[in-house]
Amino acid sequence: MTQTQTHTNTAPVLEVRGLTQRFGGLTAVNNFNVTLKHGELAGLIGPNGAGKTTVFNLVSGFYQPSEGDILVCGSNTKGMKPHQVTGLGVARTFQNIRLWNDMSVLDNIRVAQHGRLGYGFFHAIARSGRYRRREDEVEREARELLEVFDLLRFADEYPKNLPYGTQRKLEIARALSSHPQLLLLDEPAAGLNSADVKDLIRLVRWIHGRFDVTIWMIEHHMDVMMELCEQIKVIDFGQTIAEGTPETVRNHPAVITAYLGDDNI
């Protein structure tokens, strides 16, 4: 399948400036900055409760930041609802899989194209020409996507009946069906066994090559991050404590302290 939106402007895919999020007295994210260029594959790591998922929730528009700006392909997402942010080109997966379990696999992919259906209620009722054309396109595109993900044989199956690893894969496929510029993967390897993790590494690398998409992922499996990411950012207590290539990050004293604690008791 081909990406219909081509990357025309030179603005970074994601630019986050001075992002701060407070929940009552707790500062979950503090003055967070990041710039992701087109085609990058970056990582975000940190100990439990460091604020990684909060950053993703902010970028995908699920929370409104207390302070700071998020620019997706040059447009500020301030005040936008999540579906509008998705329309700008951000798609994500969830830490715990959130597929629509009582809808067929094919429908899961189809409904994820909701934002760019291009027809509304009255077209659906009248079964207008535009409706029929778009439904055909949506169906074809969904089948093509399932085909390249090798999921087509499950098209009429319900996601809840699929193995866990396949559900992960399907969730990523669903995210891609909205034609994103930026794909956020929130712990895609969580709950996978080591064979599945190897498959996942291959899958992410393959997606990155095949689809014209920037990927930003949160992951606890360090081997996944070391293999895949060019750039890693480490946060702890909402603060960025280190960033750089996997090697730099691995040997960074602040990172070791954050993960293992320090010597002074």
């Binding site: 994500r92 959130r98 409904v111 909701h114």
Partner: protein
Amino acid sequence: MLRYTFHILLILAGGLITWMAYEEMIGLYTLSVLMFMGVNIIMSTSLNLVNGYMGEFSCGHAGFMCVGAYVSSILGVLLFAKDKVFGAPLLDPSLAIYAFPFIVLAGGVAAALAGLLVAIPSYKTRGDYLAIITIAANYIIISVIENLGVIGGSRGFMGMKRVINAMEDVAYLPWMPIWVFLFTVFSVWLLRRYLSSTFGKGVSAICQDEVAAEIMSVNTNKIKTISFMVSSGVAGIAGGLFAYVIGYVNPGSFNILKSTEALVMVYLGGMGSLSGSILSAVLFTLLLEALRPLQIIKWVVIPLLLIILMQFRPEGIMGNKELGDMFPWLKRFYKFK
């Protein structure tokens, strides 16, 4: 040819009922049971959109019926019948035949607008809290009408028979059975087309995981608004027909008990199944009539059946399946989804 079997059967059924009513082969009683069946089908399928497909719990469905019933009754009487309050008809009564579907639809549109009363709070509230709001909406609508003296207040409003008489003066046909049949088909058709489109499947996405729906580019507020408005609008159509079938409306007949009847039909048929709702509306109407000899004890037996149903088959007759999923051979004749 096979594809049209269902359509042909439908036309035959409609024609048969009309013909038998015209020849007076079926009595007025049977005819009225058939008409209530139609009204109940519209009521249960439209409520299924919100309670079954969208996973919200609306218990104020009768309120929207009430809006539809009053708006179409008043409009009909105002335009085509002589009335104590409104005086002479504004238009020539012989036009009533052509205007009637629009009068009923106007009631539906008014009810859809009343649906905003529930749709807007649903942006931020869901589940039990929204259920409370729907009950409140039901009460607000009834109370407003009870206090409007012009249209009879709690004494009710009548005169719709004169509109039907005006239609019969032009052409002597069993008009009400015809209209009820056509609007029942129209309502189910409308709901089915909405729900089977990718656009309408956003409704199920909201039901199954609202967060995922919003993140996956479904404009949840828009879909909720449309769904609540369609559901209450179609209920308004049911209300309008109900008013004309009986020839009299009063706010008391659209109270929470009527809403409960709609709920019973939805849960009896199975949530998220249009064919289930149709089936249960038919069964429920027949059951009400069959248990009529029990008189007041009827309302002990029917809730008891509900308890038994919830114990032994909580998903209802059809679960969330359509008839085509239960009997795959039916799919040759009709595409269910």
